[in-house]
């Protein structure tokens, strides 16, 4: 629509410049002054936000980067320069290497199970369904709970022997499936992932629902008339048009997994024996339990680096097409 109408109208952007009188010296000076004034006004409005951002975000970040090169206990200014020792130590620490591995596992599981599950629910709840508003609300409710409350709740649900989970399994004759849940090093990650899914699938489902509702019904109808079955309609109409939403949801999910802290801290504190520890938990342990703030800063710098590299690469290579043409993504090539 927009592209056809624009061919009948004169190009707006070149319009005003054509009507400008020929530039003379006075006018140029006036324009420069006006531009300076505009610039100063803009800066003036930005100062409060800029001060807050620099003081509370940028400077602490730079300071953490600085502290990462010192052996520093958090008192006074860092003075014992350690070079890259903290980083060498970090990449030899089995706990931190384990953190990286567990991060990968969580990302993998989220992408392979949690998001498809959310998508399936979103597609189901996008149909005409009795009481679908109630379902939507119910599925979204866990996301509204704070992570600390979720943590306390599920420590009780999965309390070995006495918890709700064991009672429910016992009631349906599946006692054998009950176990030590968070207390068992081999199952703690699986249990944790279950809780994460419970907490976050509703959020992704909501994203998908919003995306689904922006897909014009005509397209699905047209596909229907062309004789496409349900799977074909989903695969060739819904999925391509939902792709921008999917890409954002994957982005949020990965960043969330990299930074995971609250849930783990409340439920297991990274245990048993580091089997559920994440980078953020390790950082907290060193920063606030061991007072090795230099080393903890090194962990935070690595976390920051991972997030930054991922975010930039993802924006550059995956999100580019979404941001480039904005809404006019109907070129027909689907790419």
């Amino acid at each position: 629509m927009t592209s056809t109408s624009s061919t009948f109208l004169p190009d707006k952007r070149s319009g005003p410049s054509v009507e400008l009188p020929p530039p003379d010296a006075d006018f140029a000076r006036g324009r420069a002054r006006r531009r300076l004034l505009n610039w100063l006004t803009a800066v003036g409005f930005q100062v409060p936000a800029l001060v807050l951002f620099i003081g509370l975000v940028l400077l602490p970040m730079l300071f953490a980067l600085y502290a990462a090169f010192f052996r520093w206990g958090g008192f006074g200014m860092p003075s014992d320069y350690a070079g890259t020792d903290n980083f060498t130590r970090l990449f030899q620490d089995p706990v931190f290497l384990g953190d990286l591995w567990r991060c990968l596992v969580l990302v993998g599981l989220s992408l392979a199970l949690q998001l498809p599950f959310a998508l399936a629910l979103a597609v189901a709840l996008n149909q005409r369904l009795r009481g679908r508003a109630v379902y939507r609300m119910l599925f979204f409710a866990p996301y509204v709970l704070s992570e600390a409350i979720t943590g306390v709740l599920f420590s009780m649900v999965f309390a070995p022997g006495d918890g709700l989970a064991d009672h429910v399994l016992g009631a349906v004759g599946l006692d054998g499936l009950g176990g030590e849940w968070f207390a068992d090093p081999s199952y703690v990650m699986a249990t944790l992932f279950l809780v994460m899914t419970w907490k976050y699938f509703g959020f992704h489902m909501m994203l998908y629902l919003a995306g689904l509702q922006s897909i014009p019904a005509e397209l699905t109808e047209a596909a229907l008339i062309d004789g496409a079955g349900p799977w074909q309609r989903f695969r060739n109409v819904t999925l391509p048009l939902l792709a921008p939403t999917l890409r954002i949801s994957v982005f949020l999910s990965v960043i969330g997994a990299i930074q995971l802290f609250d849930l783990v801290w409340v439920i297991t504190q990274g245990g048993p024996d580091h089997h559920s520890e994440t980078m953020a938990v390790t950082m907290f342990q060193y920063g606030f339990k061991r007072y090795q703030v230099g080393y903890a800063s090194a962990i935070s710098v690595v976390m920051f680096g991972i997030c930054l590299v991922f975010a930039l690469a993802y924006q550059r290579f995956v999100l580019r097409r979404d941001l480039e043409g904005a809404t006019t993504n109907m070129r027909g090539d689907g790419k």
Partner: protein
């Protein structure tokens, strides 16, 4: 243009993403400003008495002090144990501590003193502090200077369920490690869980290793190891081996690796509800058992950590610690007055009677009525040696590494030798 917006957005997203990581470390602090224009002094008092009855009793004492000193207001800030430690770390980094704050002495207090944040109380409290129980003052004396005044002193030992012991045919509590292992076997044979442990929090497990080290290597060795930064002496490895022997009997409750200490499904509640026969815990155990669980009442008993055959330590050497109050550098005189008030005979008598603390003022001893606390106090009075809690005596990183490594030993992922090596490695990293 699209590209610039893109990269800026990328940067913002990334910085928001890493924001948690970076800002979490930059710390944040509360303020505690005393003094106001109308001549009243507000004194902030940070403590960890979040459980009853201490919570109410302490609030009452603050009111009493305010009544005696109309120009002083006491502002109580109460935080749970771990939350308090985290908060204090942040405050210490920010360079300003509360007027009066709870301390366990040892390594953390030393760091705060070294940072110049704690008031030296040696001269200002001498007239009245000399009369306090010497063993109670020990954790707060650094380089012959007093930095805090104790209100409690205690020790760790086994709290046991007499009815379950009887059921398993154990007539008297064991006094040797082999006897203890036998008792564990007997309890297991009767289908009783011998021990409760809060494995998630790690420090309850550390008590076993610490006591075993005291019994095999000896108290002097623990001090020497800390000074020399070397925990690889045979005594420490043996201690780990003894603990491993115990772990191999599978004496702990189901899911102990994920259990906390003071929650309704935690260690204290497990013993308090009669689901496990013993726990190795400090003198506060009875009140937490009753708070989180039903409590054992008359069935609760106390016995000291057994001696280890052939070891250097004696059964009369105690492992423990207490609670004290330190003042920030430059705290008002009213804060010193409050410490004096809190260490008076009448206050201590009230604390002993109502909250079950162990008397630090000799005159308050007569207020003891609970037979278990009396047993603990008898142990403390007759003690031939005293070792402060390891996570408090040592630098925080070393203390945490002890907790961490012992937790790994109990979970079966570290050998006794590896525990000794890990602690040594961390000790050497600290300068």
């Amino acid at each position: 243009m699209g590209d610039r917006a893109l990269s800026r957005r990328g940067f913002l997203a990334a910085s928001a993403a890493a924001g948690l990581g970076m800002t979490a470390l930059s710390g944040c602090g509360g303020d505690s400003d005393g003094g106001s224009s109308d001549g009243t002094t507000t004194v902030e008092w940070w403590n960890i008495s979040t459980t009853e009855p201490a919570k109410t009793v302490w609030a009452g004492l603050a009111k009493k002090f305010e009544a005696q000193n109309p120009k002083v207001k006491i502002k109580i800030v109460q935080l749970e144990n771990d939350a308090y430690k985290s908060k204090m770390t942040a405050l210490t980094a920010s360079g300003k501590l509360p007027d009066i704050f709870h301390t366990w002495g040892g390594g953390v207090l030393k760091q705060q003193v070294d940072a110049g944040l704690v008031e030296d109380l040696t001269d200002r409290t001498k007239p009245w502090a000399d009369a306090l129980l010497p063993v109670a003052k020990k954790p707060y004396i650094l380089d012959d200077k007093t930095y805090a005044i104790p209100f409690d002193i205690g020790m760790v030992g086994f709290w046991y369920n007499k009815a379950l012991f009887e059921q398993a045919g154990i007539s008297t509590p064991p006094t040797t490690w082999n006897g203890f292992l036998d008792a564990v076997r007997k309890l297991k044979a009767k289908g009783i869980t011998p021990l409760a442990l809060g494995g998630k929090e790690k420090w309850p497990g550390m008590y076993y290793w610490a006591y075993l080290s005291m019994r095999t290597a000896g108290i002097d060795a623990l001090q020497k190891a800390s000074d020399d930064k070397d925990f690889t002496a045979p005594g420490f490895v043996q201690a780990g081996q003894h603990l491993k022997d115990l772990v191999q009997l599978q004496p702990f409750q189901k899911g102990f690796l994920g259990a906390a200490y003071s929650t309704p499904t935690g260690e204290a509640a497990t013993v308090g509800n009669g689901k496990a026969a013993m726990e190795l815990m400090g003198q506060w155990a009875p009140s937490v058992q009753a708070d989180q669980g039903k409590g054992l009442g008359k069935n609760l008993g106390f016995f000291p950590f057994p001696a280890v055959e052939g070891g250097r330590g004696a059964i009369t050497e105690v492992f423990g610690g207490g609670g004290g109050h330190a003042l920030r550098k430059g705290a008002p005189q009213a804060a010193v007055d409050f410490l004096k008030f809190f260490a008076s005979e009448s206050t201590d008598t009230e604390l002993v009677r109502k909250t079950g603390t162990i008397p630090v003022v000799p005159g308050a001893e007569s207020a003891l009525s609970d037979p278990n606390i009396k047993a603990v106090q008898a142990q403390l009075k007759a003690a031939t040696g005293f070792q402060l809690f390891l996570d408090q005596a040592y630098a925080p990183a070393v203390g945490q590494e002890v907790n961490d490594s012992v937790a790994a030993l109990i979970a079966g992922s570290k050998s006794p030798e590896q525990v000794a090596q890990s602690i040594t490695k961390t000790a050497k990293e600290e300068q």
